[in-house]
Symmetry: C2
Subunit: 226 residues, 2 copies
Amino acid sequence: MPSPLEKARQAPDSMKGRILSAARKLYGEYGFHGVTARMIATEVGIDVSTLYYHWGDKQDLYEAVLTDLNEEIRQKLAEIEKIVRGKPIDVRLAVAIDVMCDHLFQNPETSNLMLFSFFSKTRTQSDLDTRMTEHLANIAVAMGLALDKSHVPPQANARVLAVWNSIINFASGENYFRPMLHLDRAAYLAVVKETLKFILIPAFTQAGPDAQGQERSGQGPAVSSI
Amino acid sequence: MPSPLEKARQAPDSMKGRILSAARKLYGEYGFHGVTARMIATEVGIDVSTLYYHWGDKQDLYEAVLTDLNEEIRQKLAEIEKIVRGKPIDVRLAVAIDVMCDHLFQNPETSNLMLFSFFSKTRTQSDLDTRMTEHLANIAVAMGLALDKSHVPPQANARVLAVWNSIINFASGENYFRPMLHLDRAAYLAVVKETLKFILIPAFTQAGPDAQGQERSGQGPAVSSI
DNA sequence: AATGTTCTCCAACAAATGTTGGAAACATAA
DNA sequence: TTATGTTTCCAACATTTGTTGGAGAACATT
């Protein structure tokens, strides 16, 4: 029998897995409070009590969705890191932007769920929180903003967050932004990638590849411990 | 009697105004579906039916909140534009970041409400949508990314969106990000401002003040019609 | 004081929602 | 076949939620 510890990543054809992915889709669209147990059951095509049979209460299911989400992100980041290891920072950023955009545009609920976690009040502290800290630390080290995963200065984390958020914003906001730009999906995706590279790459390359974190133009204190 | 058209910006001490600001705070924290009419009434300290007496149904009240929000943003942008008119782009950005951050950190629900509008599915098309397009066009022209408010290329709008979103993300995400960075409010605000300047200014200054929109490093197609 | 208007609350209703008990359907093994 | 365990659904429950009617208080105007 499978390890009882692998709670995440249900077999997608099992009933439990089908419920999980329907819940994920709906929670991503409407947020926790915007989704009812019956909505999820209808999406799967089952009775609502079957849902309770497999996944305790609504909160448990939501946490399971977040755990699943976290695992997906971890995998994607590892995949990117494998591609860009050792490359210069501008290439790293360009590849990360391309790969993450492609992925997030194919899984629109992913970025939505992250944003809901970031910006809505939740009563219970979620699992995603601590995992997110890990992801950020890994990226910071990979980008050369910190030397040690366990000692990442706040400035470095903040820069990683800025990059991260920029990317997921455009993915999450497609329904809102794309009509404003009058673009079809493909054109929107292309413009987003181009814009992200335009915004993000100069910040990390301007001072030269070995001077990341150096302060320029005298705005605010310099990042010290890098 | 006051003009019936000034629906937004209620007198803050009137009952209608008190309800509006309580609703605004709560909708900003929990989103539309996360807030009940009774929560708003309790926050104000009145009975729920009094709320209905003043503001039709829950949806009407939410739309009123968005209209109010929009007016506040318009005012703030106008105020910024007055300060920075004619200044070079790096100064414009630095001032805009400082002023907007100060404002958003004092009114945390503002950025939350915008993000909810951007990223959650809403059944009814809101007023904020069209206003947001106007704001973006104004900023694009002010930043020199477009010559004419009515002809802003999608690339220019996308760049403005990237700047805009970066700012409101840090404000909205304070509850989530600040514990991750282990900073108090003041330090967080300082790091955010520094980070935003680090990320945003180089993109618009690197190629020189008269070359905004020029493509660099060969990523993607150039912005043509600027 | 009398009267009309505005405001506020109490109580209630219908619908929606989270949740559960139990019976049927299904599978599996003896 | 029977016996046993698993899965699914039907029906119902208690609570929450959006919403309204009506009675009284507060207030203004005569």
